[in-house]
């Protein structure tokens, strides 16, 4: 998936000289996760450069640059580091179009590795997507595989509004199914790991059905897509796994069609439970599909604690917990 992100950036920098990349360690070194490797060498230091360790500065400067007419795509090294820049994102980037009656805009993408599963402790494991989805004026994208990562990142950079692009870092090296004690499967063994070198884009706001099924709808995104698929295989429950891909704007049509078909719904995310994006999904399903529901909706999420270090796998909503939820939702009348 790292190569897919790199390829998206490479394609966009080649196509549009207004695309500029900066962030901590992204220049000469190519990023701590190597996503920007080779880009400074290829496009020069004015188009891909290191920034000071200052997230409000990175995002604030990107806003000004975007307002000038560039198309910055900046990296926040970990989503956990985003908070000093949150003011700039929520009260500035998100509102410039609105408050200026579209005289000024902020076409910018903010990439951030998200989620846990790498023993990163509480400051390298968070999933803050709900904090972005709550803000009017931001789009929030979370890919679950290399093919999507490239197409969605290209669409994000081309979008004329600010886009938060969350890269599940546990997926950088393979389609992680939640079984942390088993060897890593590389993306080369997965069909969605096959990424064309050329330009292509995937529209924002469209979900993908990863596994068709008749019994229950599972709403997931990012790392949880494979965990949900695995839970379905392991329990033998015929779950329809929907990968939201973009949480805002969300694809209500795909969600609604599926839940009306299955009559049951499980929502899975790694972020904390209370006011997580699952709360919004649950509300949407309740508001739109209530008369089709045959069982209460269940959420499987991280716990409302900071992300722990030693007990990472007890915290992580793995296939066992998702499987239990699938069984429970099927047992309900």
């Amino acid at each position: 998936m790292i190569k897919a992100v790199n390829s998206a950036l490479d394609n966009m920098m080649a196509r549009d000289e207004k695309v500029v990349i900066f962030g901590e360690d992204v220049g000469y070194f190519g990023g701590v996760f190597r996503c920007t490797e080779g880009l400074q060498e290829k496009y020069g230091a004015q188009r891909c450069f290191d920034s000071p360790i200052n997230e409000s500065g990175i995002i604030g400067a990107a806003i000004g640059m975007a307002a000038y007419g560039m198309r910055p795509c900046v990296e926040i090294q970990f989503a956990d580091y985003m908070y000093p820049g949150y003011d700039q994102l929520t009260q500035e980037a998100a509102r410039i179009r609105y408050r200026s009656d579209h005289d000024f805009t902020a076409p910018m993408t903010v990439r951030m590795p998200t989620g846990g599963g790498i023993f990163g402790g509480q400051t390298h494991s968070q999933s803050p997507e709900a904090l972005f989805a709550h803000v009017s004026g931001l789009k929030t994208v979370i890919p679950s595989n290399p093919y999507d990562a490239k197409g969605l990142l290209i669409a994000s950079i081309e979008d004329n509004d600010p886009v938060i692009f969350l890269e599940p870092k546990r997926l950088y090296n393979g389609p992680f199914d939640g079984h942390h004690d088993r060897p890593i499967t590389p993306w080369s063994k997965h069909e969605l790991g096959d990424v064309p070198e050329d330009y292509y884009s995937i529209p924002l706001g469209k979900a993908a059905i990863r596994r068709e099924g008749a019994d229950v709808t599972v709403l997931a995104y990012g790392t949880m897509v494979y965990v949900a698929e695995t839970a379905a295989e392991e329990t033998g429950i015929d779950a329809e796994v929907i990968d939201l891909r973009t949480i805002l704007p969300y694809d209500l049509e795909t969600i609604q069609t599926s839940v009306e078909k299955t009559g049951r719904c499980v929502i899975v995310h790694e972020a904390t439970k209370t006011c997580g994006f699952g709360s919004e999904l649950m509300s949407l399903v309740q508001e739109n599909c209530f008369y089709h529901l045959e069982a209460p909706i269940i959420r499987v999420t991280g716990y409302d604690t900071p992300y722990p270090h030693a007990h990472e796998w007890e915290y992580f909503p793995g296939p066992a917990r998702v499987g239990e939820a699938l069984k429970k939702v099927m047992e309900a009348a």
Partner: protein, 410 residues
Amino acid sequence: MSETEPLSLYVPEPEFRPGDTPDYSDVKIAAAGEVDRPALNAKADDIRELAYPIIRVLNRDGKAVGPWADMLSAEELREGLRDMLKVRAFDARMQMAQRQGKTSFYMQCLGEEAIATAFRKALKPGDMNFPTYRQQGLLIADDYPIVEMMNQIYSNGADPLKGRQLPIMYSSKKHGFFTISGNLATQFIQAVGWAMGSAIAGDTKIAAGWIGDGSTAESDFHSALVFASCYRAPVVLNIVNNQWAISTFQGIARGKAATFASRGLGFGIPSLRVDGNDYLAVYAVSKWAIDRARQGLGPTLIEHVTYRAGAHSTSDDPSAYRPKEESDAWPLGDPVERLKTHLIGLGEWSEERHTQTKAEIESKIVQAQKEAESHGTLHDGDKPLVRDMFEDVFEVTPPHLLAQRQEAGY
């Protein structure tokens, strides 16, 4: 037995509070013409001393003296005077309109008119300001239509921002005036980013950031200086030190140590202090900094020293925290009076012309106000469409927001 005394916290206090008699006679202010004018390409390290004295051009007799003088023609100075009079008249009318209930809120820049109007004069078309709420002079000195400003203040049917923004949070790309946020300091770093964009694109435009004395305490001030110094961005970073951040005196942001300008020294950014009530000095220093930026010589930090003669906003009553006489006792005088005296001294202006010009400007402002009010005021007459409340959140309104708009009946 310990020899160490218990610690106590030092909390800075202003010199004068209500009831005190303000006296600034011991404040050291450089005489006009006393501060050197360095070459544009002077190295920051070689001009560190400029971060302390106040650069002044107009002396007590209203004569322009010293190395920063003689940069503007008499006609340009008359334009400057008219710009300041226009700002002052506009402020007075809008302040009154708020008191009459025609809008919710207003912020005047009484006493600070020279700063934005003179700075605007030193910019070129295409340059971009990232202003705070007290730089209406930037728009007025660039001949932005007064009626449009009033429409915005009234949130009326002709409001260019469709009633979305608090009064005075103007926006105009055409006039080099970035949409005002209302949050403090956030735009200082954005100005640096805009300037970096111009440099990457190989453009010749420069940016100007604006911040108040109080807001320099925000971390975004630091962010802006870090980025500006790192990338040598073509930007002028303006601090307007008007002594008061609502009720908090400037020593709380500054800690009664050094000067705001000297904050730039550690970043290797040339940093200057200028008499913000001296139109000629503001212009000269701004021009120096703007030229430096445009020639690729990097950022400059300017502290404009002035005094907020009015209240912070229409929601504020300064008599509760500072002596009423403080404004008059302030040693830098009134910018309008000082420029007027200078022009009269040159034989380029007279009391009669001043009175007549003032009356003409006031009458034009009243006319503009009538026109604006024909489009409504906050609680009367035409209003922006409610439907527009739902537009421009995104370029294309997404389905969930469209559904909310339709459900609301718009």
